[in-house]
């Protein structure tokens, strides 16, 4: 009982007549307050991320990592060989299925090693296609590029703060991403072909001149 009364007394005494600091010390105190509150703002943001995103991320990453281990990365080779066939029906395999599988199973930097199964003329286009997919995939499968999540998460944080569901945005991001990587692959393959043809022509001209 005495403890409670002491707190009560302390509370009633502590609140009223505190003068705000003035003069030089006042300015310093105000600056210090502004300094600390800048980082308090950051800390509040950090807590929001930690509580709102990290638990889901841990569970999701664990599930998908296990799935990747169960599927096994060896099977990609066969797909890569199929994807290097000429013909228009193999474009979607080369610049849509193969980049998706590569980024999903091998994740960000190692996905580009899948390019080794393709002939030289397709390699720049495959790289372009695979690297363009490392952000659209993070909406649903953050394991694929865990170092660069905030392109999507930053924007998504704004949406969820409005109380709107994220599923629609994540799915559309993924689907539009797939269309974009297909187009990007085809365009880059075309440009690579043109540049390679120009290279061989100039080489021939040099050979003739020499």
């Amino acid at each position: 009982m005495p403890f409670v009364t002491a707190v009560h007394v302390l509370g009633s005494v502590a609140t009223p007549d505190v003068q705000p600091p003035t003069g030089v010390m006042g300015a310093l105190a105000k600056a210090a307050q502004a300094f600390i509150s800048t980082f308090q703002e950051g800390a509040t943001f950090f807590t929001g991320l930690l509580v709102g995103i990290v638990p889901l991320l841990i569970v999701l990453l664990t599930a998908v990592n296990a799935l990747v281990r169960l599927i096994g990365q060896e099977r990609v080779e066969k797909l890569g060989i199929a994807a290097s066939r000429p013909g228009i029906i193999w474009y979607p395999v080369r610049y849509l299925v193969l980049p998706f599988v590569a980024v999903f199973l091998f994740t960000n930097p190692m996905a580009y090693t899948v390019g080794m199964f393709l002939p030289e003329r397709f390699k720049p286009a495959f790289y372009d296609s695979a690297v363009s997919f490392v952000h659209p995939i993070t909406g649903l499968f953050p394991h694929a590029n865990s170092g660069e999540l905030f392109v999507y998460l930053g924007v998504a944080a704004g949406i969820s703060k409005l109380g709107l569901p994220l599923g629609d945005l994540a799915v559309r991001y993924l689907l539009v991403g797939l269309v974009v990587i297909l187009i990007r692959g085809i365009v880059t393959e075309f440009i690579t072909k043109a540049l390679m043809a120009r290279r061989t022509r100039s080489d021939e001209a040099e050979a003739v001149a020499a």
Partner: protein
């Protein structure tokens, strides 16, 4: 931990009892097989958990810390409001988004803007705070995601191609091929995303 399960039932210790094989031994074999399968799956799940925690600590938490400091400074110093005046009109109309994407795709700038996607991530967070504040309609989240990202991987082309075991000649051609391709496909991706964003977060 899977070492116990990898010992085969026909190991030297059990070989002398080979002639006494019967119902008990086949039952034992089955137990070993089930144990090995379960141990394998549990081992995979456990390793996956270990990997994901390591990813969180190594990649995700450091970036969260970095982003939190930036956001704190931007919000408190008022730089956020200044930036908002620049970003909001750009990010809430198709021509503005196309402008951003063309800027990011300029072949000289794209390799500079690329590394670690740091710039794209900071702008992503800034756009998020603007969307939360109601300055940008949530429908524009989708095209904006593509508008801030035409430079993705442009800093990494030689390394990425080398990972795919490309010849040096292919790298020489591949770098300009990808950079010029982005100039076309960057704005195109924004238009596609804009078209795909109809019906997204529309209030009825």
């Amino acid at each position: 931990m899977s070492a116990e399960f990898t010992a085969s039932p026909e190991s030297p210790a059990t070989a002398p009892q080979e002639e006494k094989r019967g119902a008990f031994d086949s039952f034992n074999d089955m137990l070993v097989r089930i144990g090995r399968a379960v141990g394998g799956v549990v081992g995979i799940l456990y390793q996956a958990g270990r990997d994901s925690i390591e990813t969180i600590i190594r990649n995700i938490l450091p970036f969260m810390a970095f982003i939190s400091v930036i956001v704190g400074i931007i919000n408190k110093t008022g730089a956020g409001d200044a930036l908002a005046h620049v970003i909001t009109p750009l990010a809430s109309s198709l021509p503005g988004l196309l402008g951003i994407s063309i800027f990011c795709a300029i072949p000289v700038l794209s390799p500079i803007l690329g590394p670690g996607a740091v710039i794209a991530q900071i702008i992503g967070v800034l756009l998020g705070t603007r969307i939360a504040a109601g300055d940008i309609h949530p429908q524009y989240a989708l095209p904006a995601l593509f508008a801030i990202d035409p430079q993705v991987g442009c800093d990494f082309i030689p390394v990425g191609l080398a990972l795919g075991e490309a010849e040096p000649e292919t790298v020489e051609i591949g770098v300009p091929a990808v950079l010029f391709s982005r100039l076309l496909t960057g704005p195109l991706s924004v238009v596609l995303a804009w078209l795909a964003s109809f019906g997204l977060y529309q209030s009825s």
